[in-house]
């Protein structure tokens, strides 16, 4: 198999006396779509917060393309190549849809404050490229027609799609999706699945996603990690997970 993009080794975090995640080992390979599932409170979002350094891990290491990012800041982790969406949507509500996406591109298009104020050629060319790229992303996520409205006034499903578009704008190697299908109807979920696959192929990235919608997970994930009480319960292909007794027990109880 190809090289691992993400390699998590013995990752753990304690909040006071409570161990939320412990001894987690996982890999995500190039071009893979990997699922992270588990019952409520299993620590899935905590893992995402550790990977993006919202929390500092108490132990373990996180390797992105072989480089340890466990001591970086959230901003540097994004620059290194991890982008994410949030379980409770976090958009920039009072700026326009297209500006939300454009904000994601800042680190790849450098021009100075003086360039901005004096409208230099550098600024204008950068802005033109940013706009073109942002429009392209909005078209992929079917948001192009609402590009000029405030992000807050988008319908729920569209807000979820915009968050993914904004994360992709940072040109990540690894995209973390936290419940991308939450609150969507079956038809929207179907469309989302196609979009996720399309995005993976077009931008050649790896995707790690948390999701409760099992039809989505079983459909698009190539491998699945199951988390329970902060530790790894099982890992394997969708079929293996479906038939794993420990997983069934964790979800349904004894």
């Amino acid at each position: 198999m190809a090289n691992p993009v993400l390699e998590v080794k013995n990752l753990g975090i304690d909040f006071g006396g409570l161990t939320a995640v412990n001894n987690l080992n996982m890999e995500v390979y190039e071009g893979e779509i990997v699922g992270l599932i588990g019952p409520n409170g299993a620590g899935k979002t905590t893992v995402f917060n550790l990977l993006t350094k919202v929390y500092d891990p108490s132990r373990g290491s996180i390797l992105l393309d072989g480089k340890d990012i466990a001591r970086m800041t959230t901003v540097d982790v994004n620059k290194a190549g991890i982008a994410r969406t949030f379980q409770n949507i976090r958009l920039f509500g009072k700026i326009s849809v297209i500006d939300n996406v454009k904000t994601g591109m800042n680190n790849h298009h450098a021009y100075s404050v003086a360039d901005a104020i004096f409208h230099t050629k550098k600024r204008n060319e950068s802005e033109k490229r940013i706009t073109e790229k942002a429009e392209e992303l909005l078209k992929i996520f079917n948001l192009y027609d609402s590009r000029d409205i405030e992000a807050d006034s988008l319908p729920y499903g569209a807000q979820r799609r915009l968050e993914i578009a904004r994360a992709l704008a940072t040109e990540p190697k690894l995209l973390l999706l936290d419940e991308p299908a939450a609150g969507m109807n079956p038809q929207e979920t179907d469309e989302l699945m196609n979009t996720i696959r399309f995005v993976r192929d077009k931008f050649a990235i790896s995707i790690l996603l948390i999701e409760h919608d099992m039809s989505l997970v079983m459909n698009i994930c190539e491998r699945i990690y199951v988390l329970n009480y902060g530790t790894l319960l099982a890992k394997g292909s969708p079929d293996e997970i479906k038939n794993n007794e420990k997983v069934i027990k964790a979800y349904l109880g004894d």
């Binding site: 919202v54 949030f86 976090r90 904000t103 901005a116 409208h119 994360a167």
Partner: protein, 351 residues
């Protein structure tokens, strides 16, 4: 050049076109009026101060409206700009006899010094999240006022003389620039309305250029959602510092213009009340609303002056007007009504 023209009058940004047209139009009308008829002294004396307060309110709106941080010390930055400008203007009076050039130098100096102070206080404070900036700027405003209140600065042929305690500055045939609580005395009045308007236009240009660039987007992103902004690689403290420093520099510019409009100026002019007054202009005009800021500053500055004849009732009426307008602009019914009217006009325009 084409890019600049596009920014000023491009179709895409209506608010921007309105701002520039509004300011230029008002300028032309007032200039014509001043040449055609004899305007009362009360009116003409308000022109430059209004320009100054518009600039400083626009500057504060960059912090409060766009960056989402609270500053309670913008009068402090005005004071720094003002007294820097007085000193520069006084020192260069013989070297640069041309008033316009001296004004330019003084305004630039006021701008830079004030911006540096802005950098000095915002770098440590904006590393923290929370309301710390409000607290620090509140203290900063008071400290600056007290400092200038106790500062004696003069120069003669032996050079600059400076004292912090009492007026120990003895000059041989020289000139006092700052004399403690008396402030600046005998300043050459070199500000004028045209310069004020030009500085407003420059301020508008800087602010619009900034908010329509990647920097503006990060400033607003950091305001709307800190965690999400960090997750897409926005350095929050740097972004907020940028907005604050530019705002401080512009406030200094306004102060410089203000100081050079009067022959005497006391430091007590730039006290806490002035900071709050500027904040009122910004809130009244709408957070992040540039045209609103211009209009509200003009109205709220001119209104109390116009009501002078009513003496004691003056501040009462001012307060009532403030409350009524704030209530009205926040009422959803009035908003809907305003939306219907604008829709009506738009339809007519399309036909």
């Amino acid at each position: 050049m084409k890019g600049i023209m596009n920014t000023l009058f491009g179709k895409k940004n209506r608010s921007r076109t309105i701002s520039f047209s509004l300011v230029i139009l008002v300028y032309i009308v007032i200039e014509i009026l001043m040449h055609a008829i004899r305007m009362p002294r009360l009116f003409t004396s308000l022109l430059v101060p209004v320009c100054c307060y518009i600039i400083v309110a626009l500057a504060l709106n960059l912090v409060v409206g766009f960056s989402g941080e609270l500053s309670l010390g913008h009068a402090g930055f005005m004071a720094i700009g003002a007294f820097t400008a007085v000193a520069v203007s006084g020192l260069s009076a013989s070297a640069v006899p041309n008033g316009m050039l001296r004004l330019f130098l003084s305004v630039v100096a006021g701008c830079i010094v004030s911006g540096l102070f802005g950098l000095l206080i915002s770098v440590p404070v904006l590393k923290l999240s929370g309301d710390y900036l409000a607290i620090v700027t509140l203290a900063f405003g008071q400290i600056i006022k007290s400092l200038i209140n106790n500062m004696f600065l003069g120069f003669d042929k032996n050079g600059l003389h400076f004292s912090f305690v009492t007026n120990e500055v003895s000059l041989e045939n020289g000139k006092m620039l700052l004399s403690g609580p008396m402030g600046a005395t005998d300043t050459a009045k070199i500000s004028n309305f045209t310069t004020g308007i030009i500085l407003i236009l420059i301020t508008l240009f800087i602010i619009y250029s900034l908010i329509n660039s990647k920097y503006g987007r990060t400033i607003m992103a950091a305001r709307d959602n800190r965690i999400a902004a960090e997750s897409i690689g926005v350095d929050i403290s740097r972004t907020k510092t940028l907005a604050f420093v530019i705002s401080a520099a512009l406030a200094g510019m306004a102060g410089a213009l203000y100081a050079l409009n009067y022959s005497t100026l006391q430091p007590s002019k730039f006290d806490f009340n002035t900071s709050i007054l500027i904040l009122v202009y910004v809130v009244f005009g709408g957070l992040g609303n540039i045209n609103g800021t211009i209009i509200s500053t003009t109205l709220l500055y001119v209104l109390p002056e116009m009501l002078r004849s009513l003496q004691d009732y003056r501040m009462l009426i001012y307060a009532v007007v403030l409350i009524v307008v704030m209530q009205l602009t926040n009422s959803s019914r009035i908003r809907r009504f305003a939306d219907r009217i604008t829709d009506l006009f738009r339809k007519k325009g399309e036909e």
